[in-house]
Symmetry: C2
Subunit: 191 residues, 2 copies
């Protein structure tokens, strides 16, 4: 294969599109977040990057709680909007129906089919523009009509969507390809 | 909406399917990794969870370098396979065509259209089964035939694929939905 060097770019495709929620000065605020991933399985832990100058960042440090909400693709315009305007200038608390869980200060988006309520474990500054926030998922809330028969989230019912960075394009979930920890069990490399 | 509590599950959908590469005792080893996300934009930084007992974990600590490789969906069986067998018992160094970059000790998978060469910035143990590894992307290598006209990766040419956890199902990338930081610019909530 013939490869070209692109520098130190954040090319980790695809990115999940999520909504980060936090209370700032006692009021719910939300922003679009795609720089996020799971970093521990059980208990679930997330790590994400949050620009030090973002309004939401202050709320996370204020309460040490936050939420990660997984929107469906039919929410694409609202979710794009909250990534375009800052909570410092625009009150975003009325854009969604909100609920709170056991932590009391992590506002969650009821319109999203899946919401993760989280508490901060650690905030790191490694010299970039972003603070690196690591949080523990204390509770997941899933729409009942998005659950499978065994009471786990069904991704085809959730219809999450993805971001492609640099190109800045959104994509839906595609077709089912196969079962994990299964489809390659008997793989042997062709030489 | 009507939501059900599911406990502290790692429900961050969808997960990107990647290959984590590291040299272990001087030999390339690879494993499937989906617990990963970007945590800083520029320079690109990734955070991921790596089970403390995984063979690859030892190699990351040995060299403080690793690679993240984005496979195309046509590699699904090989990539599933390396998530099913441990490098401790099975030599996976011959499964792929490998190359090294500027760090010398981060083996990359040439068969993957996109490879991120990384150095460790920090390894955290927050009490879970996984070590949380934070690394800086020092170089990206992209297949020339997967670049767009402006020399950035084109996700539709890369054809990455995704994992849905708990269900353990793989999904392809779906259709284009719209432009980010654009499609919702004029959004107003319907009351």
């Amino acid at each position: 294969m013939s490869k070209k060097s692109l520098g130190n770019k954040s090319c980790l495709y695809p990115y999940p599109v999520t909504i980060l929620g936090a209370n700032v000065n006692g009021k719910a605020n939300f922003m679009t977040l795609a720089f996020i991933g799971i970093v521990n399985a059980n208990p679930g832990m997330v790590a994400f990057g949050c620009n030090k100058r973002h309004y939401t960042n202050g709320g996370i440090k204020e309460n040490l709680t936050f939420s990660i909400n997984i929107p469906s693709k039919n929410m694409i315009k609202a979710v794009d909007y909250i990534g375009c305007v800052s909570g410092e200038k625009t009150d975003k608390s009325g854009l969604f129906k909100i609920f709170y869980g056991k932590l009391d200060t992590a506002p969650m988006v009821d319109d999203c089919p899946l919401c993760l309520e989280c508490k901060v474990l650690k905030i790191l500054d490694l010299g970039g523009f972003d603070d690196i926030v690591i949080g523990e998922i204390v509770e997941c809330y899933c729409e009942e009509n998005c659950l499978s028969s065994n009471n786990l989230p069904d991704i085809e019912k959730l219809q999450p969507y993805m971001l492609s960075m640099y190109e800045n394009r959104y994509f839906s979930l595609g077709e089912y390809l196969g079962k994990a920890w299964n489809i390659g069990l008997n793989y042997t490399a062709e030489k």
